[in-house]
């Protein structure tokens, strides 16, 4: 039974959290007005002159920004797709493994990379893929001439996507493993009695049973279509791979923080946030429709 008195305590406890949210997230949001102004620090946010959509027009006129948006989409979508396929396949394969100690060790080991930061992994991969690195040494044994993968536009995206999948698939598999554990063993037995082989059991029992989870995870991932991974790319890229590796977030960082183009970079950032907001709304609607999953 609810009483007003009870609720007062709960509301009071929330005040601090809401206060934090207000001060650090809501109020700073008004800063987006500088995307529509020529921001001059000496004049302040309110004093700077309004310029309407000037910065947005410039953004779409620049070949550079179009390239950045394309890179973001290609990298992010590849990551989203692979980050579903790989963990699902891995979870199913691991589930088929019947030697329990091995299963447990493997499961623990593959999700360890998730806890390493990109600052460390970036340096690691830069060394692994360097001219004298281990990849070139191994390929050299098979007569492949050494290459500098980190500064080659043909391999940089592949490395970014591949290493990201490597880092997260173990962690991502946990939720699918949980879903598989929930499948009623009777369905497997029934299928076996009906003469289904291993592959058929996976195809007709396991996959349909975790379908809901897969759909849910995919729709939720939609909101990340414009998040291609700042930390990772920032630690691994260089001017030579801007054509294939520069994404919205790294571009905004370079323009805004290092080149002090505050208004322009805010416009680019706002554009990204706007699209992301639409995609998140869409993904939650879809999640609600297909998987009965509601957040609000």
């Amino acid at each position: 039974m609810r009483s007003v008195k009870n609720e007062i305590y709960y509301n009071a406890m929330m005040v601090i959290g809401i206060g934090f949210l207000l001060v650090f997230s809501i109020i700073p949001m008004f800063g987006v007005i500088i995307a529509f102004k020529d921001f001059v620090p000496a004049k302040g946010m309110l004093g700077s002159a309004w310029v309407g959509l000037k910065h947005f027009n410039r953004m779409f006129a620049l070949a550079e920004t179009r390239n950045v948006i394309r890179n973001t989409l290609v990298i992010a979508i590849s990551k989203i797709v692979l980050n579903i396929i790989v963990p699902v396949s891995f979870a199913i394969l691991l589930n088929e493994l019947k030697v329990y100690p091995v299963k447990r060790v493997v499961q623990t080991v593959v999700y360890l990379p998730h806890f390493l930061s990109w600052v460390i992994l970036g340096i690691m991969f830069t060394n692994i893929f360097s001219y004298t690195g281990i990849v070139n040494q191994i390929l050299g044994k098979f007569g492949v001439p050494p290459q500098m993968y980190m500064i080659s536009n043909s391999s940089f995206r592949g490395i970014i996507i591949g290493t990201d999948v490597w880092k997260t698939f173990g962690y991502g598999a946990i939720i699918y493993l949980a879903a598989i554990t929930n499948i009623d063993p009777n369905t497997y037995e029934a299928a076996a009695i009906d003469g289904a082989g291993r592959w058929q059991r996976i195809w007709f029992v396991t996959l349909p049973s975790i379908q809901g989870t897969i759909v849910l995870m995919s729709t939720l991932a939609l909101g990340n279509v414009l998040n291609a991974g700042f930390d990772q790319i920032f630690t691994m890229y260089s001017p030579l791979v801007y054509p294939t590796g520069d994404i919205i977030d790294t571009y905004v960082y370079r323009m805004g923080i290092t080149k002090m183009q505050y208004s322009f970079s805010t416009a680019v950032g706002l554009f990204k946030s706007g699209i992301s907001f639409l995609l998140i709304t869409l993904s939650y609607t879809l999640a609600n429709k297909f998987a009965d999953y509601t957040i609000f």
Binding site: A42, G44, A63, M148, S238, L240, M260
Partner: protein, 544 residues
């Protein structure tokens, strides 16, 4: 048109200032009856730890200033130098600017904004009546050119320091490698000589990597270690500078035809393995430097002060040592080097400051004490610089200055000091040395040269000041002056994308991903994407 008038006025002022050598202003040391308090803001010096009882606003220098002219300093805040501009922007917005503060030459747009919003004090009269002989004499050594960017309508709106020259890139070679392959440093003159050296070095020491190059900016401008711009200079191109041609037209130096020749050389060397193959991957801080200190690099381009960065080399590689040469030279035997933009840092004064002249008087006293022009003050200062007062030894000296961040030097301080050290070490003459601290350093370098191991800490000074600094003004060095060095407003908008384009093109051509002929396409694209606008703008500004 108005700007053109401005510049001519500025030059007129500058010349008139320069024409009055070593005459102190009438009221340069006038004492105030009532204490004047100047507020200021500072960039933190991580090495500064004050002795007990002392602070930023109460130390050997501020006490001297208070004693002489009854002026106190109050530091409102101090932050890390990377945060300084942000914090200052907040002050600008909030209307709480301190009485005085300094900006770097790269912050020119901030100065313009302050000026356009009428937030700065006019310092013309304050400077004229109060600058002492040292301020005037150092300014005169720049022929007053540095005043122009900070002069508005004929009025001086800030006190700039001239940016002293001679920090251009020189060629650093390994003397031990030279010896091993039977070459002499004096023989390394032309591009072909450098190539011979790099080729033989690679043959004799297959583990070395050849020429070290900057990871993202292999051809850039003044005072940038690992930029191979001397190779562009020798072909008549001055990367990243706005240059006035013989016909008076303004061009961006990275577009000059010599760039293609320089890129041809670098691409050829890269293909032959004479340049560090992995140079573009050494993006992180210090990675390229590590190639030089670990003994892997056989050569690199760097300014004189790189001497302090290479001190670990002999520890890492037995018998390794370096030598510095002015190479490559052109057909006329000249080593062509860029001269920096005229202005360095600038001290600005708030329009609301009641005593702008006090700022100038404070500056006078700073140098009187620090350079020892006032003997009593110098004695106090030296007494404070002992082992019990690590602050005064470790912190950068301008940190103690109330006008911190601004450092007045003669335009030729680098070679002059080097020649002074040579005269002292070789002939025992102290004449070329300007201050007691210079004598101390010369003694240290002399002992180091004599092989006294307890003076090993002078190795950096030896390389920088004795070896590299000495040849910065050699007879065959010819300087190229920038036509324009400040930031215009559209430059702040357009330049970042153009620089990215330039970086990529240069890197791709060196790596052989693009041919040198693609440079023409780059030129066209550069001009089309805003470069032409900038060129026109600067030409108009300079009245061309």
């Amino acid at each position: 048109m108005r700007k053109r008038v401005l510049i001519s006025l500025a030059l007129a002022i500058a010349v008139s200032l320069a024409a009055v050598p070593v005459m102190a202003g009438e009221t340069a040391y006038e004492r105030y009856d009532e204490t004047v308090v100047l507020t200021t803001v500072k960039r933190t010096d991580p090495n500064a730890k004050f002795p007990e009882g002392d602070s930023l606003d109460n130390n050997v220098m501020t006490r001297y200033i208070k004693d002489r002219i009854n002026v106190e300093t109050k530091t409102v805040w101090e932050v890390d130098s990377t945060e300084f501009n942000n914090k200052l922007s907040l002050d600008i917005v909030a209307g709480t600017l301190p009485d005085m503060f300094s900006l770097g030459n790269d912050d020119y747009l901030i100065y313009r904004q302050l000026l356009d919003n009428g937030l700065l004090a006019d310092l013309t009269d304050a400077y004229d009546a109060n600058a002492n002989w040292y301020l005037r004499d150092t300014a005169a050594s720049f022929e007053g050119r540095h005043f122009a960017p900070y002069t508005d309508d004929g009025r001086l709106m800030g006190i700039p320091t001239g940016r002293y020259g001679y920090e251009h890139n020189q060629l650093w070679l390994r003397s031990d490698i030279l010896e091993a392959i039977g070459m002499k440093a004096e023989e390394i003159l032309t591009i072909a000589d450098i190539e011979t050296y790099l080729t033989k070095a690679k043959e004799a020491f297959p583990d070395t990597l050849g020429l070290a190059l900057h990871a993202t900016d292999p051809l850039t401008n003044y005072a940038s270690s690992f930029s191979a711009d001397p190779i562009a200079q020798v072909f008549g191109a001055t990367p990243r500078y706005w240059i006035e041609g013989e016909d008076g037209s303004i061009t961006y130096g990275s577009l000059l035809p010599g760039m293609k020749d320089a890129l041809t050389v670098l691409a050829d060397w890269y293909a032959k393995g004479l340049i560090d193959l992995e140079f573009p991957t050494r993006v992180g801080g210090g990675l390229t430097q590590a190639v030089t200190t670990s003994g892997q690099a056989a050569a690199w381009f760097a300014p004189w002060w790189y001497g302090w960065s290479i001190v670990d080399l002999p520890k890492n590689v037995e018998g390794a040592d370096v030598v510095v040469v002015n190479a490559p030279v052109n057909d006329a035997g000249e080593f062509v080097a860029p001269w920096p933009s005229p202005a360095g840092e600038v001290l600005l004064v708030n329009k609301n400051c009641e005593h702008p002249e006090a700022v100038v008087r404070v500056m006078n006293l700073e140098y009187d004490m620090h350079r020892g022009f006032d003997e009593e003050a110098a004695a106090l200062y030296d007494e404070s610089r002992n082992q019990n007062n690590p602050t005064y030894l470790d912190a950068s000296w301008t940190y103690l200055f109330p006008t911190s961040g601004v450092n007045m030097e003669y335009s030729n301080v680098v070679p002059t000091f080097s020649h002074g050290i040579h005269a002292f070490v070789e002939r025992g003459s102290q004449e070329g040395l300007a201050s007691p601290s210079e004598v101390t350093e010369s003694i240290g370098i002399g002992k180091f040269i004599d092989g006294d191991e307890s003076f090993e800490q002078y190795r950096g000074s030896y390389y920088a000041r004795y070896v590299a600094g000495e040849i910065t003004d050699a007879a065959n060095v010819r300087f190229v002056y920038p036509a324009y060095s400040q930031t215009t407003e559209s430059m702040a908008d357009i330049m970042p994308s153009l620089l990215t384009l330039e970086q990529q093109t240069v890197l791709q051509i060196i790596l052989g991903q693009k041919s040198v002929d693609d440079f023409d396409a780059f030129t066209a694209q550069w001009l089309a994407e805003g470069g032409q606008t900038l060129t026109d703008e600067i030409s108009a500004l300079l009245g061309k």
